[in-house]
């Protein structure tokens, strides 16, 4: 990572798809005096940020799960279309047992067929030729994979911000403890010297 910026702005990005970047703090003392925050309110601010990041992470993870479930579904559909296409022209019918209702199966005989019906959602089903159906499904699959990739990158960015924020919280906290200790030690040292 060559992008170490002396200003301490943290990253070249200030946000990614609406997720604000966490600022890396070079020096805790300068940061506190510059922002005019006392350690406690700085801690509170970063804790709140962390919570917000966590909420976004939950949302992204849910989206990721949806997509990860969608991809095998599309692959299954493609497989069925491929099977029908392979049967085409052989003159054989495809015998298949299918579920009518939960636990109840019936047998279907699918004669030579040129088309399948795809459920497009929103109560719409459309008949496609096998080639068209397979092209459409492949396109859907590509789209789903592409959005999954973007989503994974988003999650990675988000987690980096979480890590930066956690480190910042630990550093501000440690700095505060250190300051308190210095303040405590000085008076007792004087008291010891007095007696």
């Amino acid at each position: 990572m060559s992008s170490s910026s002396p200003s301490g702005s943290g990253s070249d990005l200030t946000e990614r798809r609406g997720i604000p970047a966490a600022k890396f703090i070079q020096d805790v003392e300068t940061y506190l005096s510059q922002s005019g925050l006392d350690p406690n309110s700085a801690l509170a601010f970063h804790q709140e940020r962390l919570q917000q990041y966590k909420v976004v992470e939950m949302k992204l993870l849910a989206q990721q799960r949806d997509l990860q479930a969608k991809i095998p579904d599309i692959e299954k559909c493609l497989e069925v279309v491929a099977t029908l296409e392979a049967k085409k022209g052989t003159g054989e019918a495809l015998l298949a047992d299918f579920e009518v209702s939960e636990g109840i199966y019936s047998r279907a005989c699918i004669e030579d067929t040129d088309s399948v019906c795809l459920w497009l959602g929103a109560n719409v089903m459309l008949e496609y030729s096998c080639e068209e159906a397979s092209a459409l499904l492949k396109n859907n699959l590509e789209n789903a994979k592409a959005s999954l990739e973007v989503l994974v990158a988003d999650l990675q960015f988000l987690r980096d911000q979480v890590t930066v924020t956690q480190v910042t919280i630990a550093r501000v906290y440690n700095w505060d403890v250190h300051q308190r200790r210095v303040k405590q030690v000085t008076p007792t040292a004087i008291a010891v010297a007095d007696s």
């Binding site: 069925v80 980096d160 930066v164």
Partner: protein, 129 residues
């Protein structure tokens, strides 16, 4: 006082490079967890396909029901045998790939651990709970 300070880590300067190393470490750690899940499911799939292949050898029916999508298609046994063999090969290959990736990540993490522990000593904890 000096000593106390360095012990609590407050005297420790954290640079942007350190922060980036920590970020990379955390990223790799997350990836390892994802990989563990993927490896587990790939292994399971491989075993299931192995079992299916063995069952098929014992079966004496000429036509077997093979699940495609949501339905069970009637497919000649020989075709299913080749199909399962293909699926098994593909799964084993991806399993190998996943394990290789995990190995390389584990080495990267070990290297990062060395760097970070050398700098922060016991002020940093990079172990799993």
């Amino acid at each position: 006082m000096q000593q106390q300070g360095s012990k609590s880590g407050s005297e420790m300067e954290v640079t942007w490079d350190d922060q980036q190393n920590i970020n990379i470490f955390s990223r790799l750690n997350n990836r390892v967890h994802d990989l563990d899940d993927d490896i587990k499911s790939a292994k399971e799939k491989c075993e299931n396909l192995e079992d299916a292949g063995n069952e098929l050898i014992l079966a004496d029916e000429e036509m077997v029901r093979f699940q495609i999508g949501e339905v069970f298609a009637h497919v000649p046994r020989d075709d299913v045998e080749t199909k399962i063999e293909e699926m098994k090969e593909a799964t084993c290959k991806s399993l190998e790939k996943l394990e290789q990736e995990k190995e390389s990540i584990v080495t990267q993490m070990a290297a990062l651990k060395k760097v970070l522990y050398a700098k922060f000593k016991d002020s940093i904890n990079l172990e799993e709970d």
